[in-house]
């Protein structure tokens, strides 16, 4: 009996492990196959190439480039979905699909003139950041970006600050 319990727990555990590599694979398969969406995927292989190329090709100054490279080399995948068809509808639909137990909302920005931006985080059991999911819609477009990798929020904020200094 005890063994049976352990076995079933093990089975359930492995199921949930296999479940989710990223939010788009898990919730937004339809969107990827949908012609209305444009889809971009940057693989880990390409991120590795960034390191070789270095910051020279980037249209950024040195500090920005350093912050950018610091962040980019942590990434294990970037997936971007965007559409200009019914952005608000897709945003709300996407929000409803995401399991709020797995994804924690970091920031929500609601614009006065319509439009909404949301940052969602997925962490592993130890509290390490696994994925940053960015959802945004305005009048023109709905965009969804999934950054996968052992991300560090500080690095993102650092990049944000570097770019803020210029403007």
């Amino acid at each position: 009996m005890k063994q049976f319990f352990l076995l079933s727990l093990l089975c359930l555990g492995t199921m949930s492990l296999f479940g989710q590599a990223n939010a788009i694979d898990e919730y937004f398969k339809d969107y990827v196959e949908d012609e209305k969406f444009s889809v971009v995927y940057i693989s880990p292989r390409l991120f590795q190439m960034f390191e070789k190329i270095g910051g020279e090709k980037l249209d950024l100054d040195d500090d920005e480039a350093a912050a950018f490279m610091d962040l980019a080399t942590d990434l294990r995948g970037l997936r971007i979905l965007s559409t200009d068809v019914t952005p608000e509808k897709f945003f709300n639909e996407a929000k409803a699909k995401i399991n709020t137990k797995t994804y924690e909302t970091l920031i929500t920005i609601r614009e006065r003139n319509g439009g909404n931006t949301e940052f969602l985080l997925r962490e592993d059991d130890k509290g390490n950041l696994q994925e940053l999911l960015f959802l945004s819609y305005g009048e023109a477009e709905f965009t969804m970006m999934s950054f996968v990798g052992p991300l560090n929020l500080d690095k993102i904020i650092k990049l944000a600050n570097e770019m803020d200094n210029d403007n």
């Binding site: 398969k29 990827v32 889809v39 971009v40 940057i42 249209d59 950018f68 960015f134 970006m145 904020i157």
Partner: protein
């Protein structure tokens, strides 16, 4: 049996040391018609067992008893521990059901073919860098905006709480 022997046996009877044969002798002694005056008192004691032994139940009663015994054979009721076994089976079924209900998400994902992401990759590294830069810029600028709004709001609250 003479008076003296009876007296001795009676004493032994009350002491509890008399044998069964001696008690039988006593019973037969007390059945005689004429007993000495001091022995009369003990007569009912020994006659009672004789009367009790002769008593019989009525025929009707013994027939009823016999019919009950023959028609209703004793049922053997044994107390096993069936509760634990059935509970175990029920628990297994419940677990299997729970696993089956919780599983569909995973099995559905497995049966569907995984997304082939390679077809969505940019054609060259420059393009990839451009896209990543744009994505990170958009993300960080939104994040920055969010933080700025949050900071402003906090300062607004601070002013409300501390107007000086």
């Amino acid at each position: 049996m003479d008076y003296n022997t009876a007296k001795t046996l009676l004493e032994r009877y009350f002491e509890g040391t008399s044998t069964l044969t001696e008690e039988a002798e006593l019973r037969s002694y007390f059945q005689q018609e004429n007993l000495p005056a001091d022995m009369q008192a003990y007569r009912p004691l020994f006659q009672f067992f004789k009367i009790a032994g002769e008593q019989k139940v009525s025929n009707a009663f013994s027939e009823r008893l016999a019919s009950i015994e023959s028609t209703a054979p004793a049922k053997i009721v044994r107390f096993r521990r069936p509760a634990t076994r059935w509970a175990a089976i029920a628990a297994m079924i419940a677990l299997a059901l729970a696993a089956w209900i919780l599983a569909p998400d995973a099995s559905e994902a497995n049966t569907q073919t995984a997304i082939d992401w390679s077809q969505y990759e940019p054609e060259n590294e420059e393009e990839a860098i451009r896209i990543t830069t744009a994505a990170l810029q958009k993300t960080s600028s939104s994040l920055r905006r969010g933080m700025r709004i949050a900071t402003n709001e906090l300062q607004g609250v601070k002013k409300l709480v501390q107007p000086w």
